[in-house]
Subunit: 349 residues, 4 copies
């Protein structure tokens, strides 16, 4: 790391920093410019953290050179992470991008959920997603059906052969969820709920981690690091829009460029969720394709058997006929992209 001293830092203050670094076995070099002294230090940042150094008198700023995430970094782990499910479905690397579809929340009507699952199966999707516990901004909104919803999810997946995805909101629910669910999801609002990250990090179940509304890419990868640090390396990232100054036409701004950026700096798979990312039905197809063309490993789309009567997020849900229409076009696009990508890499080899 690089320690930049204040313009008027005293020789004593500079020496203090250098001594502390050396005492902690850092290799130290420094330059004194006409204004700032700059100290370059190589060593173990877990014994002497940048935060601690920054508190020393006379220190203006610390510039950390190496990215703070380690297990998630491509630097240290150049190979793409590929997650393989018992039924042979794979996410990540050179595998064909997957599709996850389903309602925002699982409702009373099991037949409705099953219809969505069957439509998903028919269109070649691999995952059924549905919420059992709903994070809701207002306490007056529908909060989800809990375990009953998970039972429905399992049943619909057993009938169709899809894999199930559902959000976990409380570490206490983990054991129960593991009985029913193939992929745990951590929602955008919980991206820095460290207790929850730790809890899912201690199981082996694949986890979809959604980017927070105000997460930087670095913080997002550090949230993944919290999970991986506990042993669970089956992390799937999900870009679902960030907060911006303009929410007149879309709920969030989808940071499509974050996908190739994350691919460069991390080996983890990343999917894209245009339903939450835009909050508008008519934007799902174009933004799903945009995600795929920049390299996403999958898409997540809200589908409801009766969006006009959905208990949550009906506005951004596709009905089953709309979904079949949209998914048909996304499938052609995805197939061709995948064909070219694999041919290309085959030719290169």
């Amino acid at each position: 790391m690089i320690i930049i001293m204040e313009p008027r830092a005293t020789q004593e203050q500079i020496q203090r920093v250098i001594t502390l670094l050396k005492d902690n076995d850092f290799e130290v070099r420094y330059n004194t410019g006409d204004v700032h002294t700059v100290i370059d230090a190589i060593g173990d940042k877990t014994t002497l953290t940048p935060g601690r150094l920054s508190a020393l008198e006379g220190v203006k700023e610390i510039k950390v050179i190496r990215e703070p995430f380690r297990l998630a970094s491509r630097d240290r782990n150049p190979e793409d992470t590929v997650i393989t499910f018992p039924n042979g479905v794979k996410i990540g690397g050179n595998n064909k991008p997957v599709s996850m579809i389903g309602p925002c929340s699982v409702e009373e009507d099991y037949e409705g959920l099953l219809k969505v699952a069957q439509a998903g199966k028919e269109m070649g999707c691999e995952f059924l997603r549905g919420g059992a516990f709903k994070p809701r901004t207002s306490p007056y909104d529908f909060q989800g059906h809990g375990e009953k919803a998970l039972q429905y999810m399992k049943k619909a997946c057993d009938e169709t052969g899809l894999l199930s995805v559902s959000e976990i909101m409380d570490a206490c629910d983990l054991d129960m969820m593991l009985e029913y669910i193939d992929v745990l999801q951590i929602g955008a609002r919980n991206v820095q709920n460290f207790k929850l990250l730790k809890a899912v990090g201690k199981c082996n179940k694949p986890v979809i981690l959604k980017r927070g509304l105000a997460s930087t890419i670095r913080e997002f990868l550090l949230a993944a690091e919290h999970i991986m640090y506990q042993g669970n390396t089956n992390v799937i990232l999900c870009e679902r829009g960030i907060r911006s100054f303009d929410s007149a036409f879309t709920r969030n701004v989808m940071d499509i460029a974050s996908i190739p950026v994350i691919k460069k700096y991390s080996h983890l798979p990343i999917i894209v969720d245009p339903s939450h990312g835009t909050g508008q039905r008519y934007l799902i197809e174009p933004l799903a394709k945009a995600g795929l063309v920049v390299g996403a490993d999958g898409i997540m789309i809200e589908v409801h058997h009766d969006p006009e009567n959905a208990l949550s997020d009906g506005k951004q849900s596709l009905s089953i006929p709309m979904f079949k229409d949209v998914m048909g076009r996304i499938n052609s696009f995805n197939n061709r992209l995948h064909y070219e990508k694999t041919c290309l890499s085959a030719n290169v080899e």
Copy 2:
């Protein structure tokens, strides 16, 4: 609420919305402009939610007129909430703004914590704050000393007569924390951790709720509503800076105007945390004063007995001598503001 239809909504779509509203006992009036039909509906938004209406075909946008928070709103509860502690300290209303001080995290050295508490007592502060569980962006950073830290907090408060404040990160820790702590804090990253909001809502302990980095004022008050909805109305809001496009000189941007805005729309007390809000020692005094002058009910300031060796947030912590200096000036300012405010209101009556 007002339902704005798409420019090309059909008569059928319009009738569909009106019928649904009437079926749910809404009082309905509507105008057909040359482009948009606008429907004005008065009724119970918990039986027919704006979200559900927005999913109907032909609906462009729903404009909710009344603020969605209820228990927290001044509209419905015009009187200022005042929270009274067993030792007579009061927060809110016309009471003199309080001061909360202490280290970001409680460390091994009990004597250090005690020195901070004693300095706080000496300077007239009412609360000692110190973290036992630390939410940390990176898993490689210090995570807090847990229960032991809480014991230290209790001991230092018993010795000095201060009230203790500490952050809760997991609903499972609630019972344990209630034994040691006078005020629970919910951190910025957990402002939409609804499980945690619910859990603290079920006890009676006062709760400091920090605004999230990307919380709108409305979402912030809805987070408070989640706590109040469970029965606990002892909520103290805390403005601690929001995320902006510029973090070169300050960690966050303090939204000082949010304090009088929240005072207008809610009866809850609100304090200001310039240490986290700016991340810079030299900005603590001016921003604390700015918070007080616009009407904050208290301030929260990081003080560490040895900031250069603090395990977290040393950069933004004041040392004890600095703190005494700064706090002396803040006290004079606070005393005079309070004197004028109470004299003024006395004269008005």
Copy 3:
């Protein structure tokens, strides 16, 4: 428009608003809810503006129903704008998306510029862009070669048959620029330089208007409206990234969804600039494709004959060999998308 009164607005305040509306020939209806009175008014907002109404005592908020841009709106002008150049090149509607390439600024070395133009021609691009006047954040940076650069641009275009694009920064330069340049560009920093918008609005030359770093979509379309209002309807919008809280890996966040949003609400063509939008070479190809797949009418890419010695923006410029490589893949992608789009629309008809 809808006028929402404060919860405690008096009957007098309400009557005042209604009288003013009626005096201005608005058609008025209103509801009195249990808390708010809501007034629905249809009439000419240029005689009585929402801004003026909002200043009346007791008015909480005005909600304008119809979008404030008129000439730019698809509502009023459903047909796509198509801009046709003398050489037959067309932008907008169902025409194949175009490519604009060239250096950030035109430098001393004419041969370098010509090489870029020739490479562009060879790869099927239609436009050469190059800056003569450079808006630079710092006065110590290179400010452009002015008229000489424009002469170079004209010469390189004459030799290759490309059309030229260059930024105008000052209304005083307009006549001079019209001699040399086929398309005027207004940069992101000048998106609300109304004097400049007016000036270019008075000529007939096509104008590329770049979205400001902090322009909402509505403000962006209103900036276009300023140009169109003066008579020049040949406006091409350009999405080039907006400012967000994260600039660690990309200069800006590209708002890819803004392209289909703008297509829905406006008939104007829109292109995408991934070079400025990301500031990173490796993101140009994926983001150009993402722009095209969501419906952009063209792309703009920085190419320099010697990026390592470029006087500005070398970091985000492609060298000529990189460009040929990238452009080849973008061309295949673009051709296929266009083929499908036109076949599809042919089939639908």
Copy 4:
């Protein structure tokens, strides 16, 4: 500056950077960590710019140590800039903060303007501000009365002894404005209109430069640098709110902390504009005081003789009676702050 190489930069790439630095007379030192090579270079950044270096292959990032603004920096010019007007009024340094008041735009009714000016004089204000040319987001809004408005401004100032402030939007208007106006203002939307910055930089008239909606503090100071670089060092900065994700209750977020930050890094005076910063009448008094308490050198407040009939920004304007009320309290606050500040500094000496 510090050049951080990519993790896999080759020896050749590293040597290339070093050679280029040495060829440009930079003093160079470098470290090779286990991952990144870091090069520390001291020299003249105008001969070899960071932008150019960043385009070299293998360079990951450039960290500039010294702030890029020079004339505006306190580093190089430790003394506070004080601007003195012919009538003895002073802005900056230890002088008592000034007050600028007046309507958003000057309207047809001269008597109205005069009443505002007289009220300002009566309350001890030093400046009358009023717009002659209005930057308006929509072309359908009132655009200002131009020269006639400037004549009114001059007349009202001649009658009252106030100094006049008005916004310049076009370099072509400069000579005309210099005849009538004591302080030129550059609006937020023109903060990076470099032609205009240059033009006002070539005269000697004091200039108020408003921070852009999305200007970082560094960009804001660089905009001031553009003016100073042309010779005009009479620059007064103005904080007037920045754009954030929440505009439900306030138009912008006032970055109150930016005032002490700018005071630390620059010697220029800075004032605060709570009318534009919040867009709400009831927030003007608290935010004006917040600005003063953190060290602003003045305040700017919108006052209109008849806000309900104002042609622009009535919502955020104070009427004359409200203004007198608010200004009275601000004056007491300001006087006491100033008294303490000057006594304090006198005692310290």
